[in-house]
Subunit: 349 residues, 2 copies
């Protein structure tokens, strides 16, 4: 399917289905709505499924990997080599995402969409579109065709997951320097002042943060004339792994699959997807509020509420892995609780 | 052990242990502190254990049950019969707490400390101290000796759980009307204005809330001369299940066991325990911010941060059951992640 065909296939979740799901929840042995966010999650999960009961089967976390030449500007506390080291760690099973995915009963898939280093490792899904995004402070991150290709990688992954029986997808990423293009995408798409969307990433000091804000502003200036729509903005100031995430959101929604969105960087990918196809929002579950400064603004601007606030700022998909567990809790509530009829009493207030 | 002996046995968690645990976390393959609250939880869990690695084994949720004659004042949307119906539901496995405990791999124990109705059911732990708390708007909820007995039930449960190999306890409760004594305990012990500590419970309207605030004020007035210390305050305006929760917190801490605290009502029990033995705080993990109005004030006043904010207001131990899962996530991070040495690089910034 072309990207446009994918977008055409995304349908809003019917309101009647949400109501039917909430009616079931209201009939469970608890005061109405007393399980708060769990009920909202359960209702949406139920409304999204074609089956009688929502189910989480073979949840999969896709960790998209890409590098960023904008690192030359001194916007990250880590050198780009760390991207490759962490890919080894993911495939060896020792990273935070591996641990939390095991806890969630989820599989981790690692996808090279835009790594700088040429890496071939057992288990690494090789879909390299280009060897790292170019320096956005000097020009576009990639050309339009590369952005389309990277988006298509995410779409492909969603299709594959569905074909292999997964009913829940999740986003993750690795890419030293990728809070900078994310902050640029927030600034361009929310839209908002780069001084508010850029944060300290994995550990910038005050001077580093100032430099980063200046770099984001410069990236937006330098690329101004190339930025017309979500895709061209993504190509201009985004990144390849961010495009992969956007593609996973679009592809998941097109296949009717819910997608759990990780933190700040995944949020940028989800934002691109929501601007390309507003109905994608119905399929997204935002797992957590990152400690990265601009993330709160993101949720406020979009009128969204993340499930968790655990002051995390690691990425990889770690917040999404915990989010999957919360979704599984919500689905279990929907499927397993006794009804008022079971107890032989009338429904509560 | 007497209550005083239990209190004497509670020791603060040594600072060196916390530091050693954090040093281990800093050596895992992630930027320092990037897992936020998960790291704080992991460090405390590690510091609390005598073993080399923290472990969650046989987590147990104790649901203490008690009734409240203050219901006569019209402070609840539900009749007291619902307490007994829900006890049947707990033992039948169909309540929200059963579902979420299964998800957490935790066992649910239901303890009658103060039910109004005489109920004997397989699986119900019978420790009834009195047939419901008296109407606190007219006099004390119970006499001092009853408060001591109800506390001792919680202490006994903690000891039994430890003897049976549990390494993590959690609190829960059931008792129609029990947000009213909880609001009274908050008002007396934080201390704070009853207008701020009382909320809508399971569904009061504006008039009901006004009545409830007036009832809490009256309870504090009527009992003023009986309230000298945490125990006498508990006896005057508390409840039997709340005393059980306080006892579980004290007993858990005395045995060196972490205790996960559920929501608004469990918070009242934990508050009594913290006022009786301030070091108990080191052993408590506050699972969630309840939608009940006064709970935010509780955390602000005590300088505590709950793990989750899921807008829940059900009680039973449902928030604690999700909290157990988060603690298990944190402990898995501590035990299972690769170190920088494993990857052959120096520790990160």
């Amino acid at each position: 399917m072309s990207i446009n065909e994918v977008i055409q296939r995304i349908r809003p979740v019917p309101h009647e289905r949400m109501e039917a799901a909430q009616a079931h929840l209201d009939n469970l042995t608890k005061p109405r709505r007393s399980l708060g966010v769990l009920e909202e999650i359960a209702a949406r999960m139920a409304a999204l499924t074609e089956e009688t009961k929502p189910a989480v089967r073979n949840p999969r976390i896709y960790v998209f990997v890409g590098d960023h030449a904008v690192n030359e500007e001194g916007v990250s506390a880590y050198p780009p080599e760390v991207t490759t080291l962490m890919v080894h760690n993911f495939l060896g099973g020792g990273a935070a995402i591996n641990v939390l995915a095991r806890r969630a009963g989820a599989e981790v898939r690692v996808v090279d969409v835009g790594m700088r280093d040429e890496v071939s490792l057992p288990g690494l899904i090789g879909r390299n579109v280009r060897r790292g995004a170019a320096n956005i402070a000097r020009g576009p991150a990639m050309i339009l065709e590369e952005a389309r290709q990277a988006l298509s990688v995410g779409i492909e992954m969603a299709g594959q997951a569905r074909a292999e029986g997964s009913t829940l997808l999740a986003t993750g990423e690795m890419g030293i320097g990728n809070t900078t293009p994310s902050a640029a995408l927030y600034a361009a798409l929310l839209p908002h002042d780069p001084g508010k969307t850029a944060g300290r990433g994995t550990g910038l000091d005050e001077a580093g943060l100032k430099r980063k804000v200046a770099v984001v502003k410069q990236a937006l200036d330098v690329n101004r004339e190339r930025m017309h729509d979500p895709l061209s903005i993504l190509a201009a100031v985004g990144g390849l792994e961010i495009a992969g995430i956007a593609g996973l959101c679009l592809g998941g929604a097109a296949h009717g699959l819910p997608v759990v969105v990780d933190g700040f960087i995944s949020g940028a990918g989800a934002l691109v997807a929501m601007r390309m196809a507003p109905s994608v929002r119905d399929y997204l579950f935002f797992s957590h509020l990152s400690a990265e400064a601009g993330h709160r603004l993101y949720f406020e601007s979009e009128g969204l509420r993340p499930m968790l606030d655990l002051d995390m700022r690691l990425g990889e998909g770690t917040g999404a892995a915990i989010g999957i567990q919360i979704i599984e809790d919500a689905v279990a509530i929907y499927n397993e609780m006794a009804t008022f009829q079971d107890l032989g009493i009338e429904a509560g207030a």
